[in-house]
Amino acid sequence: MNIQLDKTENTGNAVMTLSGDMTVEHAAELCSALKEAAEQQLDVDVQVEEIESVDMTFFQLMCSAHRTFTANDRQFVLKQGKNSLLSKGAASGFIRHKGCSRDKFHTCTMVMEN
């Protein structure tokens, strides 16, 4: 798995780019990167590229990060590659019609983009 966090000058935003295997073997690494981004009080856009494989640990981390950022009034938005990712998670049920009650920005990471 490759994780890259790029901060945008002066805006307080960042883009996290993920690629490769998003499985339990790399869950700890991803978790650390997400915590680091959360500590910096940034709004984060996640871009997913070239997914080799994905499992439940990835969806759990996305959900956890989304809740953490939202609770701190920060945006955590899964942007590029979202639908393709969710179609891989659909067989295991990681897909939603609507975000949970905490999804005040309507950016749930498990709701398909139109």
Binding site: A27, L30, C31, Q60, A65, T68, A90, G93
Partner: protein
């Protein structure tokens, strides 16, 4: 049934399965993670192997065994799909096809051995695992003992650390029938407290299956001690179609809400689920799961009802051909009956004749509709052609198909294969550029060929278009002049230039490849399409691409025709292109310039005398009829002695002795036994144009 008959049935079914298999493999190439496709490939392999061994095709069973094992591993998440795997699987399909035609053929050809070695290396060494055979939705829905279960699976948070994968268990349960899976993340901690390798998710699976509760529990046998597993029956299909549970009832039953809160909310008359979420009584997750459950049960019930109403019978196509022949004979006899009834002026007999005529028309329409097939089955064959040829030529090409559901007579479909193969090969070889050329031309690296079909009146339009380099008109003209097809200085329209491509032996290809360029193709393509009473048109823009349109009749067996007479000879003009018939007095319409043009409601329409066209020597009557037809948006008149009326035309070929007669496309036998010739209007029209 004798063994031979069983074997015959197997060959027929295996051929169909192979086609399905090839389609699934090609789809899998585009969506390698699609487990439904993997399951479809596995099922097809499994059936071919099992039935093959049963009916004496041990060679097939031997070849398929290791391939099936590999796909089983893919199904279980232990192996990923790779390109070589798909390539070898497709090659295996080709070998199986050969084995079906030659049961004595052994699975020991160099290619068969290479395939077996590849798959044995890939997956043959993996341990055998008890697997549940996925059941198709259609097959499942017609079963009698169906039950819908709600399975709640709350694994231990440490399940991943124990080496078990809850997702695989969920997928295995889902494979027992038709399932809707919800992963619930209600208790997901925030980033500060999450342990990334623990499981915080629990699942609700709504499963409709013919398996028992114990079968479902068996899936969780190795994790049941550390997990919470609840299995409840929520529908056993015994209560009729209108007793679906409401959202409130489902949530109450699951314990997500208590009875008092529910009753209080009922008074508010809002959508109960929304109210519950707003009030914080249930989570959005729980509501989503309940909605999924409600929708699942509703859909399954509707689909089950629909599936039970569908029944089909497999009939050999020869029997259908024979049925069409018989209907054709019946149409002829019916015409004779009607003629006799009119001649005798027998009122009773006229009534019967009319009744018979009505029934024969219905029978004809029904029989013809039975022979209609979706053209999609032909389209899917070309995906393989495009894949293989583009790889051979180092090009990247995607075939996109539209209108595969368009129906057309099976005889037309059977005869359409070769011309379409030729046209698609031309597009691949001459049309689409190499990736380097495309990039240089500012195009996307990948070329596209679009194959589409749609109905247009009583015809089907099939279009083959590509976004390649288009036809170089200057090169076509140069070649045509060099071959003496066009004289120097001749001005030709685009259509005329493109028509030159259909000249025998014409090719602008600089080199002959194994794919195309021998110049023996397009004239044969046009001849084949015309033999189907169809037309072919080319439009092309240099640098942008080429579009070829085939217009084909829906059927070749029986058409509605207009029966006309010249002297004592009957002719038939296809009714679908006839606009109108008007009285015609040659003397009154003869123009001073001698041009054959008639004014019909302020429109000048050219006409020709079929009498002189077919060289019938007798004198024309003073008052004749002119039949006005419309082709390609233009109207033209055919002058005949008289018009008899519409006629159900059973098309008979003219036989080898008359095969060179142009402008007559066939014949039909009339009620009195005399023969009517079917006029090839398109050819006459093209000739005079």
């Amino acid at each position: 049934m004798s063994a031979d008959v069983h074997q015959e049935v197997f060959i027929q079914e295996a051929t169909e399965l192979l086609q399905e298999l090839e389609e699934s493999l090609l789809e899998l190439d585009d969506n390698r993670e699609d487990m439904e496709l993997v399951a479809r490939v596995f099922r097809a392999m499994h059936t071919i192997k099992g039935s093959g061994a049963m009916f004496g095709f041990e060679n097939i069973a031997a070849l398929v065994h290791s391939i099936e094992t590999s796909y089983d591993l893919v199904r279980n998440g232990k192996l990923g799909i790779t390109k070589p795997m798909l390539d070898y699987s497709l090659k295996a399909c080709d070998i199986i096809k050969e084995m079906l035609t030659d049961p004595a053929m052994k699975a020991d050809s160099p290619l068969a051995l290479e395939i077996s070695a590849f798959f044995t290396e890939t997956g043959g060494q993996a341990p055998a695992k008890k697997v549940h055979e996925p059941v198709s939705k259609e097959a499942l829905l017609v079963r009698q003992n169906l039950t819908t279960f709600r399975i709640t699976f709350k694994p231990s948070p440490e399940i991943l650390l124990y080496g078990s994968n809850p997702e695989l268990l969920v997928k295995e349960v889902a494979a027992l029938g038709e399932a809707s899976v919800s992963a619930l993340t209600t208790h997901m901690p925030d980033l500060n407290s999450i342990e990334p390798e623990k499981c915080y998710t629990y699942w609700e699976i709504i499963l409709t299956t013919d398996k028992s509760e114990n079968d479902v529990r068996d899936v969780f046998i190795f994790v049941q001690d550390e997990s919470e597993i609840n299995i409840n029956i929520i529908d056993d299909f015994t209560g009729g179609g209108d007793n679906l549970k409401r959202i409130g009832e489902i949530l109450l039953e699951k314990g997500d809400i208590n009875n008092e809160d529910l009753t209080a909310l009922m008074d508010e008359r809002k959508l109960i689920g929304e109210v519950m979420v707003e009030k914080g009584l249930v989570s959005q997750d729980a509501l989503d799961a309940a909605l999924t459950e409600q929708q699942h049960v509703r859909q399954i019930r509707e689909q089950k009802a629909a599936a039970e109403n569908i029944s089909s019978v497999r009939v050999p196509s020869e029997k259908l051909d024979f049925l069409v022949d018989l209907v054709g004979e019946l149409v002829t006899v019916q015409a004779r009956l009607s003629q006799i009834a009119v001649k005798e002026n027998n009122q009773e007999m006229l009534k019967v004749a009319e009744e018979v005529e009505r029934l024969v028309w219905e029978l004809r329409d029904n029989t013809m509709s039975i022979r209609m097939l979706e053209i999609g089955s032909t389209f899917s064959k070309f995906k393989r052609l495009v894949r293989d040829l583009s790889a051979e030529l180092g090009k990247e090409i995607e075939l996109v198909t539209h209108g595969g559901e368009t129906e057309i007579d099976k005889t037309v479909i059977e005869k359409l294969g070769d011309p379409l193969v030729h046209l698609i090969r031309n597009s691949i070889d001459h049309g689409i550029e190499t990736p380097q050329e495309r990039i240089a031309a500012g195009k996307e690296e990948k070329g596209h060929i679009i194959l589409s079909a749609n109905h247009s009146g009583d015809s089907v339009l099939i279009e083959i278009s590509d976004d390649g380099k288009g036809i170089d008109k200057a090169a076509v003209l140069k070649k045509a002049k060099a071959k003496g097809l066009v004289s120097e200085g001749t001005e030709l329209s685009d259509k005329d230039v493109f028509d030159l491509i259909f000249a025998p032996g014409f090719s602008t290809a600089e080199k002959v490849s194994s794919v195309s360029g021998r110049g023996v193709g397009m004239d044969v393509v046009r001849r084949n399409i015309e033999a189907l009473r169809g037309t072919i048109d080319i439009a092309s823009v240099q640098g942008k691409g080429t579009n070829i349109t085939l217009k084909l009749p829906l059927t070749l067996a029986i058409i509605d025709g207009l029966l006309v007479v010249i002297d004592d000879q009957f002719f038939i003009i296809p009714l679908s292109i006839v606009n109108e018939c008007i009285e015609f007095n040659e003397a009154a319409h003869r123009s001073s310039s001698g041009r054959r043009i008639i004014m019909v409601r302020n429109e000048l329409i050219p006409y020709i005398h079929l009498r002189s066209f077919f060289n019938i020597q007798s004198e024309a009557p003073e008052i004749q009829q002119i039949v006005i037809i419309e082709l390609d948006g233009r109207r033209v008149g055919f002058v005949v002695d008289s018009v008899v009326g519409d006629h159900q035309t059973v098309i008979k070929s003219l036989g080898k002795a008359f095969k060179d007669i142009e402008c007559i496309s066939g014949a039909s036998v009339l009620g009195d036994g005399s023969v009517a010739l079917i006029v090839d209007v398109q050819k006459i029209y093209t000739g005079i144009e």
